[in-house]
């Protein structure tokens, strides 16, 4: 009896000491969280996308591909796709260019650089919040700061959120303004580039532009790829700005995809339909991300090859 328990204790001990077990124990919190809060909901949403599930009556009747078929007849869906693509195609390059510019400026060796870097990062810390979106709404309001400035220098008022074609731009600007995280990554990437390259180029008589485009850009291209993918994905998921500032209006001119999904799910009670929309979004996002990776071999420079 005693012997037996001793040997089982022994087993337990060796069990715990083996690397795989320990690894699993430490990974358990993540695995638990991933399964409960990501994997199961993802599977549920795939199932619901084939039903007419609604939050109101909570009955899910299997309807096959009807949700997906309806999508292609939905005017608002078509419009939200176009608006979202426009938003991504314009805001991501602007944001990356701005982040790179600031990161480049902040690579100088000066005592204040760390301070400035922190300051420029602040908008990214608060950027996604409702409070900032409300401030943005006020800034661009009919009698907001920007219109007051415009009128005081003799220009006419701009009806930012009343004009279907204009309303998306303040939202893009807000995304660009949150360039901090890309900037930090760019700054780290810039530090990695050996100064010897620049010195050699200088001796050869290259000017600033040449140095930037022939040395900085190629050496930084893996980092650019990383930032591009990250920012594209997060731009597709933009929600707060559109929800808080314009609620999708005017005339669905700022109906970003995530907001449309939210409206269908929580405002119109069509949870099944919204799930179908999310899966379409997943496919579109995966395709675009894949395209970016495939294209990367043409523009991402890798030292081992050259």
């Amino acid at each position: 009896m005693n012997n037996k328990s001793n040997s089982s204790k022994e087993k337990l001990r060796t069990g715990f000491n083996s690397d795989t077990v320990v690894g699993h124990v430490f990974a358990a919190p993540f695995i638990f969280g991933f399964v409960c809060f990501s994997l199961i909901p993802i599977c549920m949403s795939l199932y619901y996308s084939f039903t007419d599930y609604s939050l109101g009556n909570k009955q899910a009747v299997f309807v096959g591909l009807k949700n997906f078929a309806t999508l292609f007849k939905d005017e608002v869906f078509a419009k939200s796709i176009m608006i979202t693509l426009k938003y991504v195609l314009m805001s991501v390059p602007m944001k990356l260019a701005f982040a790179l510019l600031v990161a480049f400026v902040l690579t100088r060796k000066s005592k204040m650089v760390t301070l400035y870097r922190s300051l420029y990062y602040v908008p990214s810390l608060v950027g996604g919040s409702v409070a900032v979106a409300l401030v943005w709404k006020q800034l661009f309001a009919r009698k907001g700061l920007f219109n007051t400035l415009f009128t005081s220098i003799g220009l006419g008022r701009v009806n930012w959120f009343g004009d279907e074609k204009l309303a998306i731009y303040p939202l893009m600007l807000m995304a660009v303004w949150q360039f901090g995280s890309s900037m930090i990554i760019f700054a780290a990437g810039l530090k990695e580039i050996p100064t010897t390259y620049y010195e050699a180029a200088e001796i050869d008589g290259a000017n600033g532009f040449q140095r930037f485009f022939k040395i900085t850009m190629p050496c930084l291209s893996p980092i650019i790829l990383y930032n591009l993918v990250m920012q594209t994905i997060s731009a597709f998921m933009t929600f707060t700005q559109a929800f808080v500032i314009t609620a999708g209006g005017p005339n669905n001119g700022t109906m970003l995809y995530a907001l449309n999904v939210y409206n269908q799910a929580f405002k119109y009670n069509k949870m099944g339909y919204a799930c179908a929309m999310s899966w379409v979004m997943l496919v579109v996002m995966s395709l675009i991300t894949l395209a970016i990776f495939k294209s990367s071999k043409f523009w991402v420079f890798s030292e081992s090859e050259s």
Binding site: S234, G249, N251, F266, K267, Y268, E303
Partner: protein, 463 residues
């Protein structure tokens, strides 16, 4: 380097998936921000209302409760809750309050998780939430709650067709147009009369915009579909011939989309002219307290009349005096389209573990005079006759106008049966309708097309 790229890609994917998670949690964080929910502590305002003591003994009970409304309503309701807690020390409240849209977003998530508040507020969209309402009939018949002070007609406003008592109305209400007579006079516009028409309304609004450079009429927001468009349908034909949805909520209450066309045309023309706010300006109005009428940027606005005293007082502080006019008609001698209805009601939820205590609280809330002296008919005119008499005896100026107005409208001829309810799916019809108006204003589609699309959207609910 190739390795580095690969690992950075892997890192990217990992961070991307965790970002997705972050996105979701950020939303919930935003949600709690908007909630402004508060935990209550009891012990204030001792009163002599001991006879209203709750009958559920000394057992500690915590009731969860929520409502939507303006800041004024939040303050008053919280004061009433604190009064109830001081009379019934064993009852504690956890209350939450929201704006209208946020309230229903939250409610829908609670419906999905079977955790609806013990006491919750519902309006004309209650058919969507029927499964979550616990009827009060058993408490009425067993005498736990006494509703004898509320007239049969007022009780009926919150019953189903079969007479099941879903909740108790928070007040009697109707729609109206609040306006600033001084602005009308300054612009030389004709003041509204009891039988003014939509043409008069548009003419006055356009004139005010021309003369004063402000909006003639402030936004009806999403209610434009109810107080504007669907009232417009009911105003046509014989009394009670048409309504937007039919009485049983099983289909449309009219056949010809053309009936909507003049109204949509009028809205689009007004937006183009600048006498009615466009979508951007409308989005700046988040509740009645910052409506353009209150800020002085419009000469009139749409109100559910229980909102009138609030804005009346707000404008009084600025030295302006508001008045209340009826909703314009299609024809001078035509139907008013107005009806007296329940503003909202408080219901007990199916998920509640303290249904009896919740029902007792609702009955107290609707029938107790001390409580309603705090509430001041902010949710509408009290349904209980004694309470109404007590309140109107010392009503403020704004409230007096509201009481007189409701008396006036209740004397208008109204159809025997009316339908003020909206079916599930109505929200999307409203959103689309508002977008069609934008499209008409920008010349993308004609008013006739907009009318047909709106009709088709509404009809699609029933298919």
């Amino acid at each position: 380097m190739r390795r580095k790229v690969l690992s950075s890609i892997l890192a990217a994917i990992l961070v991307a998936s965790s970002l997705m998670g972050c996105g979701a949690s950020a939303d919930t964080a935003a949600d709690t921000n908007a909630t402004q929910s508060q935990q209550t502590d009891s012990t204030t305002a001792a009163t002599d209302n001991d006879e209203m003591k709750n009958t559920s003994g000394d057992e500690e009970v915590t009731l969860r409760m929520a409502w939507w409304g303006s800041q004024d309503r939040h303050d008053k309701t919280i004061a009433a809750i604190e009064l109830y807690e001081s009379i019934n020390p064993n009852i504690h409240f956890e209350y939450e309050y929201y704006s209208f849209d946020d309230y229903f977003t939250k409610l829908k998530t609670l419906v999905a998780s079977d955790e609806v508040w013990d006491v919750f507020q519902l309006g004309g969209n209650f058919p969507q939430y029927m499964d979550k309402i616990y009827p009060l009939d058993e408490y009425i018949s067993s005498g736990v709650i006494d509703l004898s002070g509320i007239s049969e007609a007022n009780l009926k406003t919150t019953q189903t067709k079969d007479g099941v008592q879903l909740g108790i109305t928070n007040g009697i209400n109707t729609y109206g147009i609040a306006y600033d007579p001084a602005m009308f006079e300054e612009a030389g516009a004709k003041l509204p009369t009891d039988d003014w028409t939509w043409d008069d309304y548009k003419e006055a609004a356009d004139l005010i915009t021309d003369k004063l450079g402000i909006f003639g009429s402030s936004t009806f927001v999403t209610s434009d579909a109810i107080a504007g468009l669907s009232t417009y349908v009911g105003q046509q034909g014989e009394l009670g011939q048409y309504s937007f949805y039919n009485l049983d909520l099983t289909g449309m209450g009219f056949d010809d989309p053309k009936m909507l066309e003049p109204f949509i045309q009028m809205r689009a023309d007004m937006i183009k002219k600048g006498s009615y706010p466009d979508a951007g300006a409308s989005a700046e109005v988040t509740n009645i307290e910052n409506d353009f009428l209150v800020t002085g940027e419009a000469a009139m606005t749409w109100v559910a009349v229980n909102q009138f005293p609030t804005i009346y007082d707000a404008c009084k502080e600025q030295g302006r005096t508001l008045a209340l006019a009826t909703i314009p008609r299609v024809k001078k001698d035509g139907n008013s389209g107005a009806h007296i209805q329940s503003s909202q009601m408080f219901c007990v939820s199916q998920d509640s573990e303290n249904k009896k205590a919740a029902a007792e609280f609702i009955a107290w809330f609707e029938t107790n005079i001390a409580c309603n002296n705090i509430l001041q008919a902010e949710r509408g005119i009290p349904a209980n006759e004694d309470v109404r008499a007590a309140l109107s005896a010392n009503a403020g100026e704004g409230q007096q106008i509201m009481y007189d107005y409701v008396d006036k409208v209740s004397n208008f001829p109204t159809p025997k049966e009316i339908n003020v309810l909206s079916p599930d799916g109505h929200d999307q019809v409203v959103d689309n309708y508002l977008n069609y108006i934008q499209q008409v204003a920008s010349g993308e589609i004609t008013a006739a097309e907009a009318a047909e699309k709106t009709y088709a959207d509404a009809e699609a609910i029933f298919k």
